[in-house]
C-alpha cells in the first residue's frame, strides 16, 4: 500500500466483537491471554507522511500496536492524532496518546471523536510533563483535565454516548481505554492505590514508564495483586534499551519520572560496546518482567534506537512465534 492510496469510500465500522469494547487488535490479543507487545514511535519533525511510515516500519513486524506520543517531554513534534490516523489507515494498530497539558476539555472531546472516525481504537490518557522541560518553556500549560478525569470522560462518551455537557453523541467512539503508571517513582506506597483509581476511572490497559528496577517493580506488582487489580486491567510494563552510561545519567536527571539504578549505569559504563550491552539488558529485563504474575505484555520505548526493537522482541522470545502484522500485509 502506497502512502497516497486512500479511497473516497466512507469506512464502515461494525460493532465491536462480543465481550470487547473496541475493534482494537491490542484488545483482542490481550483478552485472548496472549503476551502483547506495544512499541513507541519516534514522531517526526516533518509534515511528510512517508517519515511516519518509515518510523513505523521497524516496529510494525513485532508490535501489536504502535504508540503515537503527544508531544512527550513537552517537545513539539507531529501530533499524535495525525500519526494515529495515518498509521491506522495504512493497516497498523495504534495507541493514540492524549496529554492534558496542551488541550482543554472542548478540544480533547472533539479530537476523540475525530480519531475514532478515522478508525483509531486505542487511546492512552496521560497527564503530561510540565512545559518547563520542553523546547518551548514559555508555553501556557492547560491541564484542564487530569489523566483520571480524561479517562472517565472518554468512558462516558463511549458507554453513555454523551459529552461531559450531557449533549448526546449519535455515534459513540469505540475506544479501548489505556492509562500510564510509574511504579518506580515516589511516592512508591501510593502508586498501586492510584492505579486502583485509574481502573475505577475507566482504564482497561496500563502502559508504564521505564522499568529498570525489577525488585521495586516486583514490590509494586505484589501490592497490585493484593488489590486484585491484575484481574481488572492489563498491565504492560515499559522497557527500553539504554544507549550509554552518559545517556542514562542524562535521562535520569533531565526527563521527569525516570529511575535508573546505579548498578545498571555501572554495568553500562564497564561495557565495551554500550549499544549492544543496552540491548542485552533490555532483553533480560523483558524476560524477568514476563515471569512476574499479573503482567500482560510489554511496552517498548526505544527512543532513537528503534532499529533495535524488532531484534529485542524476537530475541526475548515473548512472541512465541506469533507474528503481529499489519492488516494490509495479511491480504
Amino acid at each position: 500500500m502506497s502512502t497516497g492510496d486512500y479511497s473516497d469510500e466512507v469506512p464502515v465500522y461494525a460493532p465491536p466483537p462480543e465481550g470487547h469494547v473496541s475493534h482494537s487488535r491490542l484488545e483482542r490479543v490481550l483478552r485472548a491471554g496472549r503476551f502483547a507487545v506495544t512499541a513507541e514511535l519516534n514522531p517526526p519533525d516533518s509534515a511528510d507522511p512517508s517519515d511516519v511510515f518509515e518510523a513505523a516500519q521497524p516496529l510494525g513486524e513485532v508490535a501489536d500496536a504502535i504508540n503515537a506520543t503527544d508531544a512527550s517531554g513537552a517537545n513539539c513534534h507531529m501530533s499524535s492524532i495525525g500519526i494515529s490516523a495515518l498509521l491506522t489507515r495504512a493497516g497498523y494498530s495504534t495507541v493514540y496518546q492524549i496529554s492534558c497539558r496542551d488541550r482543554n476539555r472542548i478540544a480533547i472531546q472533539g479530537d476523540v471523536l475525530g480519531a475514532a472516525a478515522m478508525g483509531v481504537s486505542n487511546v492512552l490518557c496521560l497527564t503530561g510533563d510540565g512545559v518547563g522541560v520542553g523546547d518551548q518553556p514559555g508555553a501556557k500549560p492547560v491541564f484542564d483535565f487530569d489523566s483520571l478525569t480524561l479517562l472517565r470522560t472518554i468512558r462516558t462518551m463511549r458507554d453513555q454516548g454523551m459529552f461531559l455537557s450531557g449533549r448526546k453523541i449519535t455515534r459513540p467512539p469505540q475506544m479501548f481505554l489505556g492509562a500510564a503508571e510509574n511504579p518506580c517513582i515516589p511516592p512508591h506506597d501510593w502508586r498501586p492505590e492510584r492505579l486502583a483509581k485509574k481502573v475505577e476511572a475507566g482504564a482497561e490497559f496500563i502502559q508504564t514508564n521505564y522499568i529498570y528496577d525489577i525488585p521495586l517493580f516486583e514490590k509494586f506488582m505484589a501490592r497490585v495483586r493484593d488489590l486484585g487489580l491484575d484481574k481488572k486491567v492489563y498491565i504492560l510494563p515499559g522497557v527500553g534499551p539504554l544507549a550509554s552510561a552518559k545517556a542514562a545519567r542524562w535521562m535520569r536527571s533531565n526527563v521527569p519520572g525516570i529511575h535508573v539504578p546505579d548498578a545498571l549505569i555501572d554495568r553500562m559504563e564497564k561495557a565495551e560496546k554500550p549499544g549492544a550491552e543496552g540491548k542485552k539488558i533490555c532483553i533480560e529485563l523483558i524476560q524477568q518482567i514476563r515471569e512476574i504474575k499479573g503482567v500482560a505484555g510489554v511496552h517498548v520505548m526505544a527512543y532513537r534506537r528503534e532499529h533495535q526493537v524488532s531484534e529485542i522482541i524476537l530475541e526475548s522470545g515473548v512472541l512465541e512465534g506469533r507474528q503481529p502484522r499489519r492488516r494490509s500485509e495479511r491480504r
Binding site: 492534558c100 497539558r101 476539555r105 497527564t127 503530561g128 510533563d129 510540565g130 518547563g132 500549560p141 491541564f143 484542564d144 483535565f145 487530569d146 489523566s147 483520571l148 478525569t149 472517565r152 470522560t153 461531559l164 500510564a180 503508571e181 510509574n182 517513582i185 515516589p186 511516592p187 506506597d189 501510593w190 492505590e193 492510584r194 486502583a196 483509581k197 475505577e200 476511572a201 514508564n209 521527569p256 519520572g257
Partner: protein
C-alpha cells in the same frame, strides 16, 4: 504560607474535625442564608472563606473544595492542578516535578489522608474542576447542597405516604400532604422525642 500548609497536612485529623464542625454550622444556617438570600451573602462569606483558607491551606478559591478528600492538602497548589494525583514526575524525596523546591502536593495528600477518619475518601475519582465557579464560596455551596438533600429526603417521605393513601389524599389533602412545610409548621418538640 507553605509551612502552615504543611502543618495543616501534618495535623489533617484535627483540621478534618474542625472542618466538619464548620460544615455543620453552615448547613444549620441554611434557613438564615435562604432568608437573607444566598446571592447577597455570597461575597462576604466568600471573602471570609478566602481569608481563613488561604492562610491555612494556600487556598486558591476554586469554589469546589475537596480538602476532606485530599488529606487536607489543597490540590490547586499542584502546578498541574491535578484533582487525582500524584503525576508520574515526582522527584526523589517526594519533591515536585515542576517546582523542585516544593513537596509534591499529592504525595502529601495521600500521607495526610492516613491521619483522617474519612481518609478512604481519597480513593474516589474527583471530577474535573468547573472553572466558572472560581472565586465563589465553597462553604455556601456545601450548605445549599446538604440542605437541599435534607429537603429531598423529607419530601421523599411525604411522597411515599401520599402514594400509599391516594384515595384519602384525594378527599382530605391535609392527611397526606405533598407541599413543602414551612419551618414554623413543624412541631420541634414532637421531633425531639
Amino acid at each position: 504560607m507553605y509551612r502552615i500548609r504543611l502543618f495543616a497536612i501534618r495535623h489533617s485529623g484535627v483540621f478534618e474535625w474542625i472542618y466538619q464542625r464548620v460544615e455543620g454550622v453552615m448547613v444549620a444556617l441554611d434557613p438564615v442564608f435562604a432568608k437573607i438570600g444566598y446571592n447577597r451573602v455570597e461575597r462576604p462569606i466568600a471573602l471570609l472563606e478566602q481569608g481563613v483558607k488561604s492562610v491555612l491551606f494556600d487556598c486558591k478559591m476554586c469554589g469546589q473544595c475537596a480538602l476532606s478528600s485530599t488529606g487536607m492538602s489543597c490540590p490547586m497548589n499542584c502546578p498541574k492542578e491535578l484533582r487525582n494525583g500524584p503525576c508520574g514526575g515526582v522527584r526523589p524525596g517526594n519533591y515536585c516535578e515542576v517546582k523542585p523546591w516544593m513537596k509534591c502536593v499529592w504525595a502529601a495528600a495521600w500521607d495526610g489522608s492516613t491521619r483522617m477518619k474519612g481518609g478512604q475518601k481519597i480513593r474516589e475519582v474527583l471530577p474535573p474542576v468547573d472553572r466558572s465557579l472560581k472565586g465563589s464560596s465553597s462553604w455556601l455551596r456545601v450548605s445549599r447542597e446538604k440542605a437541599a438533600k435534607l429537603r429531598e429526603a423529607r419530601e421523599a417521605a411525604r411522597t411515599a405516604v401520599a402514594e400509599a393513601f391516594p384515595e384519602a389524599r384525594a378527599i382530605e389533602p391535609a392527611v397526606a400532604p405533598l407541599a413543602e412545610e414551612p419551618a414554623s409548621a413543624v412541631n420541634r418538640e414532637v421531633l425531639k422525642k
